[in-house]
């Protein structure tokens, strides 16, 4: 008997997380030969990030693609995916997403009635400024920087020397415009879709961390599927990982080309800036690694990656 699962997410259709949902829908409907159908509810129709996560826990929403930072309020080991510098690049992300240590972290969600099918990307994060782009560590000093109010991000941006400022996402555009904020740490595709480039005039390609998301299913719903359907779900989730992650990389390149067209200054940090940033982050990374063996195992796996560039 074919099932239809409702998948809700919190972003607009231009965001990589929507792409994840669409790819999964295509893959699982093909692999299961129509036995598992997915109905996508984009753009907060079924609720915002926190509600969707709770919804999958409670079984009021079958599935979601939801950022790992939201899940860190349930399972602190999720912070592993966003420790600055740990995931080196998109190629590394695609490998680490299907690694054993990542799987162990995702499986901690089982005790919250959720099955995590896979880890995907919402876009590498960079640093957008109202004034000149930041070219050295000192440039961060005191910048009122919008971060999501999450402990890890507050720690990271305090360590970088900025003045981390939590603010509702909807207020960011006008806050950048009026100077309530000096900067925001953000992914390139959002700079494009939210038109942040109109009000902020410099991008520093810090690439400090990624914005991973997890594909989640309610445990009761998943257990209620036939073994064949479950297998199709897992296979589809696995199959789309690499293409999804690499598609975000391509998207980033398109945005960069567009920013160049618009003559928005984009700075690639030089070697000494990169080293200084890594040094500033070191105590934060070590503290989080020491706090949780799951996080440490993931970081060790990341260190063992062959260098790609």
């Amino acid at each position: 008997e074919p099932v239809t699962l409702r998948l809700g997410h919190a972003v607009f259709e231009a965001h990589p997380n929507h792409d994840t949902a669409v790819r999964f829908k295509e893959a699982v409907e093909r692999i299961s030969a129509g036995e598992v159908k997915i109905e996508i509810f984009p753009a907060r129709q079924l609720g915002d990030v926190k509600e969707l996560m709770e919804g999958v826990q409670l079984g009021t929403v079958d599935m979601t693609v939801n950022s790992s930072s939201a899940l860190a309020t349930l399972e602190p080991s999720m912070d592993a995916f966003q420790l600055p510098g740990v995931i080196p690049d998109y190629e590394g992300f695609a490998k680490l997403a299907v690694s054993e240590p990542a799987r162990r972290i995702m499986d901690t969600l089982g005790k919250h009635d959720m099955v995590a099918l896979g880890l995907y990307d919402g876009g590498q994060r960079h640093f957008l400024t109202v004034g000149e782009p930041v070219t050295a560590m000192e440039g961060f000093k005191g910048l009122k920087t919008r971060v999501a109010p999450v402990k890890l991000f507050l720690d990271v941006w305090s360590a970088a020397g900025t003045n981390p400022t939590p603010m509702a996402y909807g207020e960011v555009y006008s806050a950048l415009e009026t100077g309530t904020l000096d900067a925001v740490e953000i992914n390139l595709t959002s700079i494009e879709s939210e038109k942040f480039f109109e009000v902020a005039k410099g991008v520093t390609l810090t690439g400090h961390y990624f914005w991973p998301s997890l594909m989640l299913v309610n445990k009761g719903v998943f257990d209620g599927l036939t073994p064949e359907q479950q297998e199709a779900m897992r296979a589809a989730a696995q199959e789309i990982t690499e293409p999804q992650v690499m598609a975000v990389k391509e998207l980033d390149e398109k945005v960069l080309a567009h920013l160049a067209e618009l003559k928005v200054p984009v700075i690639t940090p030089d070697a000494s800036f990169k080293a200084a940033f890594r040094d500033a982050m070191k105590p934060v990374v070590e503290r989080y690694r020491a706090a949780d063996p799951l996080i440490d195992a993931f970081a060790i796996e990341a260190e063992a990656l062959p260098a790609t560039n």
Partner: protein, 428 residues
């Protein structure tokens, strides 16, 4: 769907408060369609609906208004309006219109505006020979300016529901507010000529200046809000906190009108008024979840755009639907029920979100003065002791004028958008 609709209308006719109409319909839908796993989503949606930072502007602006009101603000504003426009024929009715406009600069709520001005002005107007039902109606319609001129609770809620920039919405409401005040002024002058209503004595310049100085701290509030947001000092939500603190300082230190007893009263009424608004938002968040499950917004858009692809006809139909809903439901209720579909329609038509927001809010505000359920009509009838039907009758021609303003702001987006573009920059 049938269950949802019939429960909705049944409880509505039964006189169940609108907030609970939404909640009960939602609960009934879940039970009747045998989707009991969604039961636990009802309280979850309530919390999620209320747990939004931008909504905090509601209690804070209500607080600013109540503290200012304790400081004897109404009479000061009325004094100022009177010293400027009182000398014309029908001077007191013009005072009502522009007094409502000035009051709108400190209050985000039409009902507060109607109550305050009705109390102060209707007895005076009666003494000068004005028809009391006409006076009440004029004040009721003028009070719609309060949610147009910043601060505005209706704009905040629209912004929160649709994700539109609240600072831009607040600024975009100013021009429609001025338009409404102007068109109502012409109507008041016309009626005053016809009925031969008196003019007030022109005040000496010294007294006008004195009135202006007295009202100055109050009138600075909207300026502080706009300048503070524009200058990057605070966000739209924080502006409300600044407004409340400013109101406290002005009432306490400048007007010396604040006692502990009054402060307690202002805080308590703020808490209670905001609670009612928040509960409505919470319940509507239940309704919108069920609409999403049934994909109603998409169906509504498909239905409307399937009838015609002429954008003006679509806008006309949207406005008619909103007007009808506004007759029966309260402002926030209409907004919460329709915003998801409206933003989808706006995107389909390629409308600027701020323009769409101002059009929708203005339209829904008209519902305040349309029977059978019109909050400002209730309030002004209560304050003046006149029957609601008679007031509504006198308000009818003025509603026609409000429709003209609605048509202007619907068809000429630039009239709405030039101010936010000039003040708030390129986003609009």
């Amino acid at each position: 769907m049938i269950w949802l609709g019939s429960l909705f209308f049944f409880t509505l006719i039964l006189g169940v408060p609108i907030a609970f109409v939404l909640g009960i319909s939602g609960l009934g839908y879940v039970l009747m369609t045998d989707q009991t796993r969604f039961l636990v989503a009802l309280p979850q949606r309530m919390v999620a609906g209320m747990d939004q930072f931008v909504l905090l502007a509601i209690p804070l602006f209500v607080l600013a208004g109540s503290i200012m009101d304790v400081g004897g603000l109404t009479s000061r504003l009325v004094g100022l309006a009177n010293s400027v426009v009182g000398r014309f024929r029908g001077g007191l009715s013009l005072t009502a219109v522009w007094g409502a406009f000035l009051f709108g600069g400190v209050s985000g709520s039409a009902a507060a505006d109607a109550a305050a001005l009705g109390t102060v002005l209707v007895p005076d107007m009666k003494r000068q020979g004005y028809d009391p039902d006409y006076s009440a109606a004029l004040i009721a319609v003028s009070s719609l300016m309060a949610p147009l001129v910043p601060p505005s609770i209706a704009m905040i809620i629209y912004g929160a529901l649709s994700g539109t920039s609240i600072s831009q919405l607040l600024i975009a409401g100013i021009v429609p507010g001025v338009l409404l005040a102007t068109i109502l002024s012409f109507y008041a002058i016309y009626i005053a000529r016809r009925e031969n209503y008196p003019r007030a004595q022109a005040l000496p310049m010294a007294e006008i200046t004195r009135n202006a100085v007295q009202a100055l701290p109050v009138m600075l509030l909207p300026v502080i809000i706009v300048v503070g947001i524009r200058g990057g000092v605070f966000t739209a939500t924080e502006a409300a906190a600044v407004a409340a603190i400013y109101a406290l300082l002005v009432s306490g230190l400048v007007y010396r009108a604040l006692s502990w007893r009054f402060l307690r009263q202002a805080l308590l009424s703020t808490a209670i008024i905001s609670s009612a608004i928040y509960i409505l938002i919470a319940m509507a968040n239940i309704a919108s979840f069920i609409f999403a499950l049934e994909q109603l917004p998409q169906k509504a858009v498909a239905g409307l755009t399937g009838l015609t692809d002429n954008p003006y006809l679509i806008l006309l139909m949207v406005n008619l639907i909103l007007l009808v809903l506004g007759m029966f439901l309260d402002t926030i209720g209409v907004l919460i029920l329709t915003v998801p579909a409206l933003t989808a329609i706006g995107t389909t038509l390629g409308m600027d979100p701020v323009h769409l927001g101002v059009m929708v809010v203005f339209n829904v505000l008209i519902g305040f003065v349309t029977p059978p359920v019109g909050l400002c009509l209730f309030v002004i009838a209560g304050v003046t002791g006149r029957p609601m039907e008679l007031i509504a009758l006198k308000a009818l021609p003025m509603l026609g004028l409000a429709f003209i303003v609605l048509a202007i702001i619907t068809l000429l987006p630039d009239i709405v958008l030039f101010l936010p573009r000039a003040i708030a920059g390129g986003g609009a």
